[in-house]
Amino acid sequence: DAGITQSPRHKVTETGTPVTLRCHQTENHRYMYWYRQDPGHGLRLIHYSYGVKDTDKGEVSDGYSVSRSKTEDFLLTLESATSSQTSVYFCAISESGQASQQYFGPGTRLTVT
C-alpha cells in the first residue's frame, strides 16, 4: 500500500471555525489531490497539486484553499466551515499526473455543526 496518512481521521467543528486537514505521503509522488465524498455524488475533486507551491482548482473548490510547501505534505483549509462542508475528505497521490495511477489515503470524516 502507498504510504499516505491523513490527519485528523475524525473531526467535529462548529460553523464559522477554520479547519485544516493534513495529507502526508512517503512516496515522493509529484501529484497530490483532495476529494470530498458525499452520498449520491461519488468523489469530487476539490484541489490538486502538481508540485511544491503549484496548485490548481478542481470542480468543487469554493470555500477551500490548499497549500503545499513540501513534497510530502498537502494541506486543505476550510477558512470558515459551513454545514455543507460536512463530508468525508480523501487525499490521493500519483506519480506523474497524466496517465498514472492514483492511490488514496484512509479519509477524514468532518462534521460541521
Binding site: 461519488g42 475533486l45 490538486y48 468525508v88 497524466q98 496517465a99 495511477q101 488514496f104 479519509g107
Partner: protein, 109 residues
C-alpha cells in the same frame, strides 16, 4: 465536464455468482481506473486500464476507448467483494479525475 455513468447502481449477489459492472463516459479519456471502496471506507485501486483487458485473480476489466465504456467482471463472488465500485476517468491534458457515482455490491453468504 465529462459525464461518467455507472450501472447498475445497486447489485445483490449470492456468494459464488458472477457479475458485470459497467462504466460509460462521454468524452475521450487518457486514463481510466477502477476502485473498490470496502465497507470501512478504504479506497483500493483495482485496475489502471485506459484501453484493453487486464485480469487480476477473480477480477478482470475491459475498456473499449473508441466506444467510451469500461466493464469490470467479478467471477465467483465472495462476501469480501462487498462494497462500492467506482470508475474514474481523466481527460487528455487535464490532471483531473472524474468519478462515477459507483455501483454498490452486496454479496450474501
Amino acid at each position: 465536464g465529462i459525464q461518467v455513468e455507472q450501472s447498475p447502481p445497486d447489485l445483490i449477489l449470492q456468494e459464488g455468482a458472477n457479475s458485470t459492472l459497467r462504466c460509460n463516459f462521454s468524452d475521450s479519456v487518457n486514463n481510466l481506473q477502477w476502485f473498490h471502496q470496502n465497507p470501512w471506507g478504504q479506497l483500493i485501486n483495482l485496475f489502471y486500464i485506459p484501453s484493453g483487458t487486464k485480469q487480476n485473480g477473480r477480477l478482470s476489466a475491459t475498456t473499449v476507448a473508441t466506444e467510451r465504456y469500461s466493464l469490470l467482471y467479478i467471477s465467483s463472488s465472495q462476501t469480501t467483494d462487498s462494497g462500492v465500485y467506482f470508475c474514474a476517468v481523466e481527460l487528455y491534458n487535464f490532471n483531473k479525475f472524474y468519478f462515477g457515482s459507483g455501483t454498490k455490491l452486496n454479496v450474501k453468504p
